[in-house]
Symmetry: C2
Subunit: 600 residues, 2 copies
């Protein structure tokens, strides 16, 4: 099922900011093959049969066995073993195929959360960090769903600051067990999991260590199910470890390596969360569009009103754009994995290294995907009017369930901060040369603007110029901020947020343009007419957002002449010709409305 | 309690767009007197005693008598009779004092909705349109809460299109009753109301007629309580009228006058909804700030992080700005009322005429207040992190309850459309001269920019220039759009939305500047330091929003040279000097954090 090609040039994480990527280099969802489309259909069938008809029942939590039984069904269908190699009882799919599964299942509300916690943060620590014995013992059972998994990192006093947990592990006097004591919180699947990956500190260690803990080890008690705003059918528990005896052989990886595990696993979770959010967004858009077609006011379907078309087009556009970025990054991760394996790295390590390489993109996509979802469900409610507020319509659940995504797997604030932090760290370590292009931009700033010679011909020539400038804007603002604050930049979170917004918009806008360019190359300009409109709509908004963020940042750190120079540069680098976005949106919306669902 | 002054120049609704208002002309919340502050305190005491400790109980709806009994308590305290003249058993407060009550009670979740439905859309149709007999019969009982009221306009097929209802009223053969048949939906207080204001069509009338219907008339049945996303403690019912016999003397106002009543009453409801939303926003900001002070991560209160300060400052700023606009409009309404009464209009009619005069502002404030609330609760959830998603923390309810406000009293889409529609209608009728200043702007566009002579001295001199320009931008875009589409502008809802956004920002930004200018005049620049920062923060964002909206609109209707000219004009009219908003926000946030609550 591999779509990787050994001839591809190795692409580095974060490099998008300083590198011109060619359309041919990126994978686009249009390229998914028949087999992958069949897997998507299977996932859809699973939702239609097992999940969507029972959403109320699932959320009622009346039958605590319901969710595990649905996971069992998913296991039977092979949905829990997508990331697991065949020799461990799974399907060893490419990363991007597992993304596809996550996307479709993402429309499964509480089930999506339970399933992804099991296959992601529950299973992957063992898969990627376990030794052979651990993998053999746990992974096959997790891949089928015979055992269910949960991930115990958060504590009452340790959330965003994950490494500050107080849960303790102490070696027993006979040296055979670690005795774990402490309290974990917000544990998804906590109520029914058989296996917990638990993070604790051995003695007075500075860093966490990870353990594989079976429920059957004893010493585990829990509070009632948390009452939550949404994903009410997803089990969330507070878990207490009281002298829980964990055999020493159940330590995962090495002592004090837990924080790294936690971070890397969350990292995978982030891009998966992003794509799952897009699955939810597509489903919501489809439902809302159908309602808009059916609902009549003032003698006509409300989908005929410009205000509603605007919403539908924005929903579709943001999904399309975000999706472009997700599968682009997914393929990068796959390609990097194959390259590492080809170079002799073992498979698990290669996966991890590939994911770590694209950690910046994962953080970006977590933020972007979850925010697209929030936008979509909010407009979904609004399109439904009063019925959007009814617990008997679909939008209430969509709205409440969506809200968690900006909070878990690292809040969006933490992920924005991380985006910039990781970029700058790579620049400092020299693994990503931001300096040279940033200095280039500084020079260009002082030079007389080059208004170019004759225009080149081709798709998106103008737009790519805009994009190249947008990157310059990002580099310019980031470079100047770094120069100004040096090591103290971390105290300027507002500026870091501005920078993150610029990076996010660059990455998503570029991915969208490249996707459409590639479709046009493969088919024709005509065949990608609406996709082109979406790319333009997105680009215009990306430029506006980045310009606003840049302006805020510059005003916050530069004064006098420097400020004037930077603001002028920003203006130059965020220039974009006016475009009739209203007409573009109407075209896009009309098609979505005609199809009665998200059609791209 | 009147704060009106007979010498004030009569101000027209919508005129803010074309008129320079002086700070002295507007009322500011800082001017509320001792008596009014005592009333606020009473309302707060009521919430602290009767509502906040019982939010779960109220929302559970286990005891259907609980909400009516809380309304009874409110009645005993006089909170239900604020708008009712003394001779009818109320307190005859100024409009702005009733706004103050609505604001504080606005933090009462479901109780706020029940109370405002009773005193507003339930009581006011009778108070303002009833004849003497009707008023004498119903108002005193409603003012004490002995009887509870509901308002039955919406039907399954008639929501935004309120005049399309199918409920029928037919005169009985003896001419003594109207027999009402039909189905109403989403009726707040439906479950326990004694009196319903019901809108129905007599025979085959084009327009609705309003009736006062007592539950005791019979022929009224209802469905179970609607299950809703939020305000779960507020009774919401579907109500069926089956040969409900209403005495002819219970027709309200005249036949076919119902739609007008509906519109005018909703209109009052709008500004009240806006200010109630701000009451909720203040409460939410206070709670979130306290949490941010208490919650520690990375060894420090999260309120010390720039990302959190940004949120707190934005919450406070938007509330402060919106509040400025609400009480400004409230006082305008009071002043207009007094002027009408002085000119011999009877009190009820004067109230209505005053409110109708400021219908544009009411629509603006409904949109703005509800959107400030949504922003505030969303950030409130985010500040709480995982606890924001817990049904046991305060933010879950705040988030769910808030969402209705963009839907009822006319959706925000409908209110945005109305804002522009009403403005243009007044311009066409000649009651508001938009043409002359719009033409002035057109001329200015073609002239060489006047960069002014020596700068004047004074508070906000520069900012007022910015504001004056912002008005020009609004007039320019609106004027050109009207010229372009003429009567077909209504088909260009997206452009109307852009225009509405420009109007909204002009009104709120101006109100904020004038408020702070007035505070400075009354006290000192030093005393209003933070308020000044908020005015600047708001102004900067208002300009950015208006510029973006203007650009979208222009790109959607103008081409070639015209487009270039308009875009250039827009740029000129939305120019604003860079300002360090980060530092401004930190100053504001630090104060809010220090006080541990919304302090302005
Ligand atoms: C339904 C649900 C399921 C969950 N499932 C799991 C699970 O299975 N396993 C697990 O281990 N955890 C789980 N979590 C926990 C989740 O990962 C945390 O809630 C999340 O990491 C945020 O931590 P917190 O709640 O402690 O918020 P806090 O860390 O207290 O954050 C509060 C606010 O402060 C901000 N903030 C914090 N630090 C900084 C900083 N340095 N700079 C700027 N802003 C900052 C945050 O962005 C946020 O806005 C779950 C949570 C929920 C609600
Ligand atoms: C909890 C609750 C309490 C309520 N209480 C009362 C009450 O006490 N009494 C009462 O009479 N009603 C009440 N309502 C009804 C409320 O006023 C309506 O829900 C509201 O007016 C919207 O109407 P609708 O639900 O039919 O939505 P629709 O009118 O169907 O609107 C659906 C969508 O279409 C959009 N739309 C509609 N027309 C247009 C147009 N011409 N142009 C552009 N967009 C358009 C809307 O903005 C919305 O986005 C209540 C509703 C709720 C949910």
């Amino acid at each position: 099922m591999s779509t990787a090609s050994a001839t591809k040039q190795a692409i580095k994480g974060g490099e998008f900011l300083i590198r011109d990527t060619a359309a041919a280099e990126i994978f686009i969802p249009e390229e998914f093959n028949e087999e992958q489309r069949m897997i998507m259909q299977q996932c859809r069938d699973f939702l239609s049969k097992e999940v969507w008809p029972r959403l109320d029942e699932i959320d009622s939590m009346k039958d605590p066995k319901l969710m595990p039984s649905i996971l069992d069904k998913a296991g039977e269908l092979g949905l829990l073993g997508t990331s697991v190699p065949q020799e461990l009882g799974g399907f060893g799919m490419d990363f991007n195929t597992t993304m596809l599964v996550a996307e479709v299942i993402g429309a499964g509300h509480s089930v999506a959360v339970a399933l992804s916690a099991h296959t992601g943060i529950g299973t992957l620590p063992i898969l990627y960090y376990g030794n052979d014995d651990q993998k053999k013992k746990y992974i096959p059972k997790l891949a089928t769903g015979e055992w269910k998994a949960a991930y115990c990192l958060t504590e009452p006093d340790s959330g965003s600051d994950a490494n500050s947990g107080k849960t303790k592990a102490v070696l027993s006097s006979d040296g055979k067990h670690y005795i774990i004591n402490g309290q974990k919180m917000w544990i998804t699947n906590g109520g029914f999991a058989d296996v917990y990956v638990v993070f604790a500190k051995i003695d007075n260690d500075k860093n966490l260590t990870a353990f594989i803990v079976e429920k059957s080890f004893g010493g585990i008690t829990m509070n009632e199910e948390e009452k939550k705003m949404g994903i009410k059918g997803s089990s969330t528990r507070q878990i207490f470890f009281n002298d829980c005896k964990v055999p020493v052989e159940n330590m995962l990886s090495e002592r004090e390596n837990g924080f790294k595990i936690a971070v890397n696993i969350l990292n995978i979770g982030r891009i998966k969360l992003g794509i799952a959010a897009l699955g939810g967004s597509k489903h919501t858009t489809s439902i809302a569009t159908r309602y808009a077609n059916e609902r009549k006011q003032f003698g006509t379907s409300i989908s005929s009103f410009g205000a509603i078309k605007h919403k539908i087009a924005e929903m579709a556009t943001r999904i399309f754009a975000s999706e472009s970025a997700h599968y682009r990054a997914g393929q990068n991760i796959d390609d990097a994995y194959h390259a590492f394996v080809a170079a002799g790295t073992d498979s698990s390590k290669a996966r991890l290294k590939a994911l770590e390489e694209f950690a910046i993109e994962c953080a970006i996509l977590k933020v972007h995907g979850s925010e697209v979802l929030d936008f979509t469900v909010d407009e979904g409610v609004q399109i439904y009017g009063g019925m959007g507020f009814s617990a008997e319509g679909p939008m209430d659940r969509a709205y409440r369930d969506a809200r968690i995504n900006r909070i878990f797997e690292g809040t969006n604030e933490i992920n924005r901060l991380l985006t910039v932090d990781m970029l700058l760290k790579r620049a400092m370590k020299g693994s990503l040369d931001l300096m040279t292009p940033a200095m280039g931009v500084q020079k260009e700033l002082l030079a007389i603007p080059d208004f170019g010679a004759a225009e080149e011909e081709g798709v998106f020539v103008k737009e790519k110029k805009v994009l190249a400038n947008l990157k310059k804007a990002g580099l310019m603002v980031a470079g100047s901020a770094v120069q100004k604050f040096m090591m103290k930049l971390s105290e300027q979170q507002e500026i870091l947020m501005n920078l993150a917004d610029m990076m996010i918009e660059v990455y998503v806008a570029e991915s969208t343009l490249l996707r459409v360019e590639k479709i046009i190359g493969q088919k024709s300009e005509k065949a990608a007419e609406l996709q082109k409109e979406m790319a333009l709509i997105y680009l215009h908004q990306a430029v506006a957002k980045a310009a606003a963020a840049g302006r805020e940042a510059i005003s916050a750190f530069a004064e006098g002449d420097e400020q004037r120079l930077l603001l002028m540069g920003l203006k130059r680098f965020t220039k974009i010709d006016a475009y009739n976005l209203k007409d573009a949106r109407r075209k896009v919306a009309d098609y979505v409305i005609e199809k009665g669902e998200y059609p791209f």
